[in-house]
């Protein structure tokens, strides 16, 4: 063992010397991440305490896994997990598909000015706060003067106005499409940037090979931005438990859709609100989310590796 270990170690040191410049550059980054992200991790101890702000670390009461027990034994926990995953997956799929498709179509636009205008306009909703966007959504979907209902009735598609905001079956989709509305243009920017790295010669070659417009999109553009897509997909999969907070809270806090609207973040806030355990309970829930994220991340990363794609790590 000892002899065997020597040679990789030697090689390691050899590399270290050879890459001393890279190492030197890395050190400040390491310190930076350590200080700003890892140092505060002592706060995770709160998850095991009956934490009370204002008391010192030594005066806190240790209660073991009580917060986790409360979290996992709560009958509502599984409901909010279902909602969180449901909305997350819808969001993930919708936002990826629409953003990529939008970027591809935008790339096909010929007029430079028109392209810029479309691009600029499409990312504007990203800048409006949820409170304003949600206000618009509920006005548009209202029965009383909402434009969607007016159109549906006028075209005879429905005989009676639809109560969109009060129907549990629609809620996840309303959230999903509102997200698309708000962030499709914004999300497509990264793909537009990635498209620029594709060698224009490839398109010419493809034309000569007889590929049509969609053929080129499918065989050149998409593979060209595939690594970006995969990496973003992996990173976003890690956030699967962050289905959002504000939109569900603003649009979904009425009794008719509460059962399908509450996400884990809302649940944690409600259970913790105004109680001594608020911070601690939130910390425990945060730890749970981190663990889930890490598992999903490693899994996706592995899968990407198996199928020979760009890995995140």
């Amino acid at each position: 063992m000892a002899i065997k270990e020597l040679s990789p170690r030697k090689e390691f040191y050899k590399n270290l010397v050879k890459q001393k410049e890279l190492v030197l550059i890395s050190i400040p980054f390491f310190i930076y991440f350590f200080i700003f992200s890892y140092l505060p991790l002592w706060g995770l101890t709160m998850a095991f305490q009956n934490y009370k702000p204002g008391k010192t670390f030594f005066e806190q009461e240790w209660i073991g896994f009580k917060h986790f027990e409360n979290l996992f034994t709560d009958p509502d926990f599984y409901r909010v997990m279902r909602n969180t995953l449901g909305m997350s997956i819808i969001n993930l799929v919708l936002s990826f598909v629409t953003a990529i498709a939008f970027a591809l179509l935008l790339n096909e636009l010929k007029g430079r000015i028109f392209k810029r205008v479309v691009q600029t306009v499409s990312y504007m909703p990203h800048f409006l706060s949820w409170i304003i966007v949600c206000g618009l959504v509920s006005n548009i979907l209202a029965m009383d003067g909402g434009i969607i209902n007016d159109i549906l009735v006028a075209t005879g598609l429905v005989s009676e106005k639809v109560h969109f905001m009060g129907e549990p079956n629609y809620f996840w989709w309303i959230v999903g499409f509102t997200n698309v509305w708000k962030s499709m243009g914004w999300n497509s920017i990264i793909y537009l940037a990635a498209i620029t790295s594709i060698d224009p010669a490839l398109y010419e070659a493809a034309s000569i090979d007889g590929y049509g417009r969609f053929g080129r999109m499918w065989h050149i553009t998409l593979p060209g931005i595939k690594s970006t897509i995969i990496v973003l997909l992996i990173m976003n999969a890690g956030w699967i438990l962050n289905a959002g907070f504000e939109i569900q809270y603003i649009l979904g806090s009425n009794g008719l859709v509460l059962d399908v609207s509450e996400t884990i973040d809302i649940f944690v806030l409600k259970r913790g609100f105004g109680r001594a355990g608020g911070f601690a309970f939130g910390t425990a829930a945060g730890m749970f989310k981190t663990v889930v994220s890490s598992i999903i991340l490693v899994l996706c990363n592995k899968i990407a590796g198996w199928v020979g794609e760009e890995k995140l790590i």
């Binding site: 702000p53 204002g54 905001m165 009425n254």
Partner: protein, 572 residues
């Protein structure tokens, strides 16, 4: 990989060290409420001659756990207050999530000098953030006069029986000359509010029971299916978020109670019961269910957000709702602006028995306790802060805050304070007020309510002459038909039952109280199920399911806790 392991070990060690240092340092001794700082000093007649010596300028930082707007520095009243007291208040109002902001403040001990406790009072009290004021208060004549009769209430809020929070509302001064009633503000609390036009159409009737009430709505609706070309909305049940009191609070009044929030209190035995699962609640929701089936309640009422709720009210086509007037007054404002006075609302004292009940029109009994501000343990000069508040209670200073400067903001006519239409218009404009009036200070500190010793009202809005002059001819005629003076008269006045309103107990409840999770559970259950119950095809089945779920919650624990606290705080 081996290197990585060493690194990890190293990191853990460093982290542990900083953790101990990090949280050990900030807390510590300052967090104990220091009574020494507040101990009475030899300070003869502190506030008696405020202008005698030039006071050293001092700035107090103040955090208010509620919304608000910081006034501009050149606000003329605030400048005047600075001249008189030497004190500048540096306000910070809550912007985001209170839990996070207050939690950080408590954990770090980085308190401002003064704290408007608002809804966070329980947390601040629990953390010992305030200086006890029992020993110092008697040294300040105005403050002492203000609080002395209510010291029990102030003390009852804290666990150790000391005074930490000074109430800023509800200390009323009356002259008992038989005219006090005219100085009471218009009723703006909970009731079944109905459009004046509906009553006028019915020959100025007064429905007294839920049946008569919904019957009237049904008849009016049949006769007026649209208002101004848009569909009439006979009854709105707003149920969004914390405003769901519009959905839930009616049953307690229908059996004659005051607004206690989520419980009813037996006035004789002071026993408490949760009412959302009782038969008298079932009767009410049954009525709503009936009304829903008749089309008197639009399903969209349950999904309207607050803006949309105000918007439908402002169109004048909502005939009635159960609500508190301050909650819908912005919609009513629009109606007034457009001269649709007949579409504005009056309260009805409906009850099951048919006997008129007061809803929340209760004779004011003074300070509630816990509803105010405190001086933090980090305050740079406790005595000076108290002196400042003492000065604010001088009638001359108070007048600056709530009436303004004589000759500029109001004039005196025969000893009565009056305002020209222009002065009034100024004061009605929120932006003008922020820049030119002293309300920001007045609202956050102890203040006088009721009447000044010279007979005038302590606030322009309740000066009787002004109110009468401003009454619309429609209103004069409308109220006249009933023999009333204002809309408040639609409700009889109730004697104060001698214990604080229970919702104030909920909001001062210590944060680790066992009753708190129970309270959250019932609130959640009610918000989740009641709209469905009202819209249900099979009301009895829906109600039974709801009531069964209710039984799985340990609500007697909440009842017991509230009972205990009422006993502690009732008038002795």
């Amino acid at each position: 990989m081996k290197n990585a392991k060493i690194l990890v070990l190293l990191m853990v060690a460093v982290m542990a060290l900083t953790a101990l240092a990090g949280c050990g340092a900030p807390a510590g001794k300052e967090n104990q409420p220091s009574t020494t700082a507040a101990a009475p000093k030899e300070d003869p007649k502190p506030a008696e001659e405020p202008a005698e010596e030039k006071l050293e300028p001092i700035t107090f930082s103040m955090f208010v756990a509620g919304p608000g707007e910081v006034p501009p520095e050149d606000n003329k009243i605030i400048k005047k207050i600075q001249e008189i007291t030497g004190v500048t208040i540096d306000f910070e109002f809550l912007v985001g999530d209170m839990e996070q902001k207050v939690g950080i403040m408590i954990a770090s001990g980085d308190y401002p000098d003064l704290i408007g406790a608002g809804q966070a009072r329980g947390r601040f009290l629990n953390a010992g953030s305030f200086v006890a004021l029992d020993d110092s208060l008697p040294n300040y004549p105005n403050l002492w006069k203000h609080y002395e009769p209510f010291m029990d209430r102030l003390r009852s809020v804290s666990e150790d029986g000391k005074t930490y929070i000074l109430d800023i509302w509800s200390r009323q001064y009356w002259l008992n000359d038989g005219e006090d009633d005219f100085y009471e503000a218009d009723y703006n609390g909970p009731a079944f509010w109905i459009q004046k036009d509906v009553l006028a159409w019915d020959g100025y009737s007064y429905p007294k029971t839920p049946d008569q009430f919904f019957d009237l709505l049904e008849r009016y609706y049949a006769a007026h299916p649209t208002i101004d070309g848009q569909p009439t909305l006979p009854f709105e049940v707003h149920s969004q978020d914390w405003r769901s009191f519009c959905l839930k609070n009616a049953p307690q009044h229908l059996i004659g109670g005051r607004n206690e929030g989520d419980v009813v209190v037996d006035p004789d035995t002071l026993e408490v019961e949760i009412y959302q699962n009782k038969d008298y609640a079932k009767d009410y929701y049954g009525k709503l269910n009936e009304a829903f089936k008749k089309g008197l309640i639009n399903p969209e009422t349950f999904t309207r957000n607050y803006d949309q709720y105000l918007s439908v009210i402002s169109t004048g086509r909502v005939l009635a709702m159960f609500d508190q007037q301050w909650n819908f007054q912005d919609g009513e404002f629009v109606l007034i602006n457009e001269g649709k006075i007949n579409r504005t609302y009056v309260p009805l004292g409906i009850s099951y028995s048919g006997e008129l009940v007061s809803y929340n029109r209760v004779k004011n009994e003074g300070i509630i306790g816990g509803n105010g501000m405190g001086i933090s343990t980090k305050c740079k000069d406790v005595e000076r802060a108290l002196k400042f508040m003492d000065t604010l209670l001088e009638e001359d200073v108070h007048r600056l805050l709530y009436w303004g400067i004589e000759g500029e903001d109001y004039y005196v006519d025969n000893g009565r304070y009056r305002r020209t239409p222009e002065q009034k218009a100024n004061f009605d404009n929120p932006d003008w007020r922020l820049a030119n009036a002293g309300l920001v200070i007045g609202d956050q500190f102890p203040k006088l309510e009721g009447r000044y010793s010279n007979g005038n009202s302590t606030g322009a809005a309740t000066q009787p002459e002004e109110r009468l002059e401003n009454q619309f001819p429609y209103d004069k005629e409308f109220y006249g038909k009933y023999g009333f003076y204002t809309k408040s008269d639609f409700l009889p006045v109730m004697e104060h039952p001698g214990y604080p309103e229970v919702w104030s107990i909920f909001s001062t409840m210590e944060e680790d109280n066992v009753a708190k999770p129970v309270f959250d559970q019932i609130t959640d259950l009610q918000n989740r199920y009641l709209p469905g119950v009202i819209m249900s095809n099979d009301f009895d089945a829906a109600w039974t399911e709801y009531a069964n779920r209710y039984e799985s919650i340990d609500y007697p624990a909440l009842e017991a806790e509230v009972e205990r606290q009422i006993q502690e705080r009732k008038t002795k």
